[in-house]
Amino acid sequence: MAASLYAADPPETLRTVELEGLTLLYHRPSGLTHFLAPPAPQILEALAAGPATAAEIAARMGEAFEIESEDPAAAIAARLSELEAAGLVWRT
């Protein structure tokens, strides 16, 4: 089975405010406010460049950050499903 391709709303539809290491995010399409902890905001940033698979997201994040994780694939998949449930990412 082909890996799912994830997409996110473009950055101009989001308002973010950093508070004590957390990202407070207002999502215009839904009118909802979310509190995000790392690495959720970084995943959204990675998706700003366009839809990507979980592996591509990990690669994009690896360009900007030193990734620290025992099982990056599982961690990113778990974060993606949280973001998906919140409506912040979806599968295309």
């Binding site: 979310h34 509190f35 790392p38 900007a64 950050f65 030193e66 990113i76 974060r79």
Partner: protein, 136 residues
């Protein structure tokens, strides 16, 4: 994540020289919390409310099993519907300290409490129940 700078230092070949560490955390950790409307919480705290057990929409003739689910009338081990709706204060005492409302034995109270915990929006008593949830 320890720190993140918006303008990464450039070492001249297009790569940031000081790489910021990003910990992905455990798969089970939670990183997204959505703010939900708190309308019911505050509305309830300024209002007198009550909860029918069970809600008329859910079939007021049904019995309540120990786990709070609705079962047909007469099911062994289940408890009959309450003749009167429970007051907000009674529900609070029942949920927080297990105190049974007047005229209800403690096993039945447990079943009614479980029923109330399973209430969903749209059913009678839900806004009242939501208002009794103390987030702090």
């Amino acid at each position: 994540m320890s720190e993140r700078s918006n303008i990464p230092d450039d070492d001249g070949i297009g790569r940031p020289s000081r790489r910021v560490v990003l910990a992905l955390g455990a798969a089970a950790a939670s990183t997204v919390v959505t703010i939900r409307p708190a309308l019911a919480q505050t509305a309830g705290s300024v209002l007198n409310c009550e909860i029918p057990v069970p809600a008329p929409q859910a079939g007021s003739g049904n019995f309540i099993a120990a786990d709070g689910k609705l079962v047909p009338a007469g099911t062994p081990g289940a408890y009959p519907p309450l003749a009167r709706p429970l007051k907000g204060e009674e529900v609070k005492a029942m949920l927080n300290s297990g105190r049974a409302p007047a005229g209800v034995n403690s096993e039945a109270a447990q079943a009614y409490a479980n029923y109330i915990r399973r209430l969903q929006a749209g059913m009678s008593g839900f806004t009242c129940y939501a208002s009794l949830q103390m987030p702090r």
